[in-house]
Symmetry: D2
Subunit: 378 residues, 4 copies
């Protein structure tokens, strides 16, 4: 398998390259009866779109989605939903010069090693444009989750050395912030930092956090398909992510059990709650009903304008600059990709978990009392 | 799916509970012709075994593996390899008292939420004993990797606040260290720290690092099945892991592109190399031929002897101690589990990648020149 | 993948060879809460067991099953169920002589071509004993289906030229018949025919039919995973099956639409029914609530006592007899295998189909009204 | 999963409805380096296209394929290949009248049972147009097989009572025959028979046979993924197929082992061959190097112009005619679909089988002699 298919029941198959005819995704396994139109999807694609401000690539793309199948009279039919976004501003002339060079930090060398050659125009399949398929499918997953009141919200928590102040977090500010931080002061600092990066022909890494609320307890399974394990795959599969953390993440290794365990207690309504959420909403690979807390660390964009040492296909070293249009920071645009991947995992596990108990089966099927030869069931 | 199956071609199916009859794994998809006997597997199980010293649980288990199928005349036949380890020292009497209680940091509550009830004896399927299946299968994967000179080595890099000194790392010391650190000084400090933990009826988290060498370039695929993404799932699926990092991991978010990019250069033999390995051996989800660098953060063992606030099945809160035999630290025993999961991913992707190019296919099959009606191919 | 894993949610992984230590299966994905003990499984294994009469191999095996995991207090826990049957009467000395010969109609040649060598003792993995894993897992599937009143019944409809008389079918006779025909007269004729086969050192083919009743409408999906398509794979995967038919099967190609269409009508209770069931209970790949009708054609046992032309590994031709203990007919013992494979497909699709509609999801999960920070769901 | 994904390594995901915007397929896992352009695919789509003569539906569709991704400089890149065929002549006005009726022999009733409602225009996803995705993907598989000299040829062997005369088979006549029979006399008889069907407002069933030549020995696996089992799923998943046979098919049940076994012998070049091919090229689920022989029985088109008893959604019975444009026979157009499904299975198993032996792995990867810290492999 070429690895562009994800999920077990809610299964997506993405395709497309940066400078090909377009990008798309087929969703196989979305339940029937979900209200869905192009606006539901476009809303998310618009958040991912390039050209939002000077901190994102200037490539001009409307990224308009077309639903090609799977919807009838405004609802999903249960059959595959095919989504298409045509590429418009491809400018592949920018890339000819690097067809014989392997750029540092890019997949150029590894694609050639794997496939023998590569579509070198704009990163081909390893371009950030690949995430359009994820975001489009994620929008459908998000619509499905909304049926149960589940929400997924991501935001930028750090850009370079600038981190948000957790005592001033304001989720309503995320979409107002040019860098999608839930904190106006940190936003200002981050913009200043990015201006300096651009000035010095450099780029910056960053961190995205994601919180999913109202997730029912019981999602995920005890061994390889732990909910956190599948989320880790989902987030690490986003280009540039180098670390994935759940709950307290890397800090747990320095803690005592007495500090890290989330004690059970009763809340003001006398209902049982966890007094803390170090575990990030997952215990033993299964959701516990408290908010899911995820974090992903993104490396700095490898495309920088300053000269770098590149490797030629012939084994020689070249000091060259990368031309083309690139983001000095990608976390701001990747926020919606993190949401999408999280939503895709949750939607799939929501469906998978339905079959976990015999009593659930009996809620769906009515046992037949008799041997009803050719009688059609209702 | 209940999530106890892992891999695409080299596929494993694990089973078994802490206090059931045993633990095992079926490997479906191991190539034929690999020399394999029980000693190859026992060697790894022995490193995982409890009772190694006072820092691991006192449960007495020989963990002897029996190969039930798939081997003939000392070689794998290409058919499923079934491996069985019988449980011996089960002492399930220890656990009756907590059958109605949900322990903090454990999967008790989530199992009940998912399945309606649970095997409460020793954690059931979410016990650390579940990893026996992983380690046994991983040993077979390791044997396969060895055919190509690929090695996988993990070690403890931190226990609580004690971290190894990277200027004194000695891999040959790993198995000599009681806590599997490649550093004798850090080992001493860690043991002192653990003694204090035991004293205070507490436990400690820790960190494991893993390096895989001689991995061919080209493993992994560009989108969802990125090599790092699958490794992230593999490591995060180990109980207690809360973060997975590749290469420079979480630190990348604070870096510039000019710092994080691995420049290409020539080595002393005039062969092209990366001047650094911030990427941890993976670019665009595909191995680049340099060493794979992985890191996993483990939370402290949730079973601690001091009293904790637990939740009753009836919604009441109880202050209780957890009895039974538990490890104050699990990273030392988990080192071999990290190696096993890494080896399983590499073996699977080694096999998957064979089909990546048309020219590879022609190395395996000889094109037929004619329409050879009923002639049998040789 | 080596192809010993079957199913999507209700997933089984079988292992074992004819002359290895045993045969087994791991079931991953059985819902929690199903009452299950060894007797539930043994009942089916006993129907498959050799040595039932002179028409089956004389190999003496008790085929006693041991449940190794996945059951607690008499119920499935939702975790993998591992089932083991130890081999007893292996007599591998019988087979040494054919280690260098490829027997006609057997998999000897193809195993060597695929894997480079083979476990030649009694067919190894391609032995009929492989079906023990299928039958054991099928028994669990059957128990699950019984929760909804679904029944699966197979029987022999033809042995060589002897076919059952459809006007005298008596299902209660199946287990009384030495050849599992639901017709005493046909049984007598078939036994006479088989006596003649044995006399002439020959074997006979046969046909098995299977009917599944009370199957809910809606199982299966419209394209590649049509219920009939998956059943076709399931039945064709049984060794010796050369044809699979659904409903009217091969006869449909000679019919008109007006003859083959099942008209809708009302029954005596004024409920809508199909006036006929040519389609065998499946339309467009999805069950329609009427009985599923399946048929599988089995080739004659290739092991016959008379001399045959065999191929040596060295390319020479040898005229030899096959020694060992073999069934002159396998359909009688394969009846329970057909039931098992049918039950496995139905159980899996019963679980898969739960996720087909949004309204089903709402029967399982209660939408959350609020953002319940750390409140644990009940 | 909604079941529109097929294959393990060479994996396809099809989508689209009869009266939606189009039909398409994404191929994930085609090896890199295969020369491919739209003409390679169009060639097969043209053979499937409607409107070829009066025996096929009059719907006017050019069925022009567009390659949206996965090709660069005329070769496959190893990334997903997305293929799109826009629908043109949709005329959905024909179908409004039957939105509330379930037609006999169609999937109307079962779709409503499964999904709660359906896209009733022209069969929606269960339309014959769904096979466009299969044929387009099959064309790519065919191109891959051609690299090894493997050919796949299907033809009509029976229409209603008219069967080909096996002593006069002429494969070069298939595409000349209006019904794709390899026999001019049978073609004439079949056309006369179909004229009579049209006259009586009826339709006819038929049979397709398929032969694959130069298939290497070793494809397929011993248990559930037997080559014949996967082919059975593949063919049975084509709408209207009610039986799949391998080699001698249903006739084997009446035979003796001495008749059915294919004896080994030497051919004129003194090379070992099978003296016959009753097994149809597969033994124990694995190809033996002789031609693969497959047969599929198609039911008569359920859409007939004469009045039939239909079921209303409200449970009432209606005697109505089906309007719209339908084929009186579908086997002629389905020939290329059978070829496509066969090619898809063979391509996938060709790739899967590469990993069957350790020695194959060593043909692809060069073992590393040393621990090459950051040296890049070539």
């Amino acid at each position: 398998m070429a690895g562009s298919i994800f999920g077990t029941i809610f299964k997506i198959s993405t395709w497309g390259e940066s400078h090909g005819k377009g990008i798309g995704v087929v969703i196989d396994g979305c339940p029937a009866g979900l209200a869905l139109d192009e606006a539901d999807i476009q809303m998310y694609l618009d958040r991912r779109r390039p050209g939002q401000n000077k901190y994102t690539t200037a490539r001009a793309e409307s990224d308009s989605v077309e639903i090609l199948s799977g919807i009838f009279e405004g609802k999903t039919t249960g059959t595959p939903i095919s989504l298409l976004v045509r590429n418009q501003d491809q400018r592949s002339r920018d890339y000819g010069s690097i067809s014989e060079l392997y750029r540092p930090g890019h997949a150029d060398y590894t694609f050639d090693q794997k496939y023998g050659f590569r579509d070198y125009r704009g990163g081909g399949r390893s371009s950030g444009r690949e995430t359009i398929g994820r975001v489009a499918a994620g929008a459908v997953a998000m619509k499905l989750l909304a049926e149960l009141g589940i929400t997924v919200t991501a935001y930028v928590s750090a850009i370079g050395p600038v981190t948000i102040d957790r005592s001033h977090v304001d989720f309503s500010y995320i979409e107002k912030s040019k860098v999608r931080m839930p904190d106006s002061e940190a936003t200002e600092k981050a913009l200043a930092y990015l201006d300096a990066c651009i000035q010095s022909q450099d780029s910056s890494g960053g961190t995205i956090e994601c919180i999913a609320q109202n997730v029912p307890a019981g999602l995920g399974t005890p061994v390889f398909e732990k909910l956190d394990a599948v989320l880790a795959q989902a987030l690490m599969s986003i280009g540039a992510v180098k670390a994935v953390e759940i709950g307290d993440g890397t800090t747990v290794s320095a803690l005592h059990g007495s500090e890290n365990n989330d004690a059970y207690t009763l809340n003001e309504q006398n209902r049982p709650v966890k007094a803390s959420n170090h575990s990030g909403g997952i215990l033993g690979g299964i959701s516990d009903g408290s908010p899911l807390l995820l974090r992903a660390s993104f490396k700095p964009t490898p495309s920088i304008a300053q000269p770098q040492s590149m490797l030629g296909r012939d084994g020689t070293i070249h000091r060259e600059c990368i031309h083309g249009r690139h983001d000095p920071i990608i976390v701001s645009r990747a926020v919606v990709v993190v949401e999408a991947m999280t939503a895709l995992v949750l939607a799939d596990h929501l469906l998978l978990n339905m079959a976990s108990r015999i009593e659930n089966i009996k809620k769906i099927y009515r046992p037949s009392p008799c041997n009803s030869q050719t009688v059609i069931s209702e």
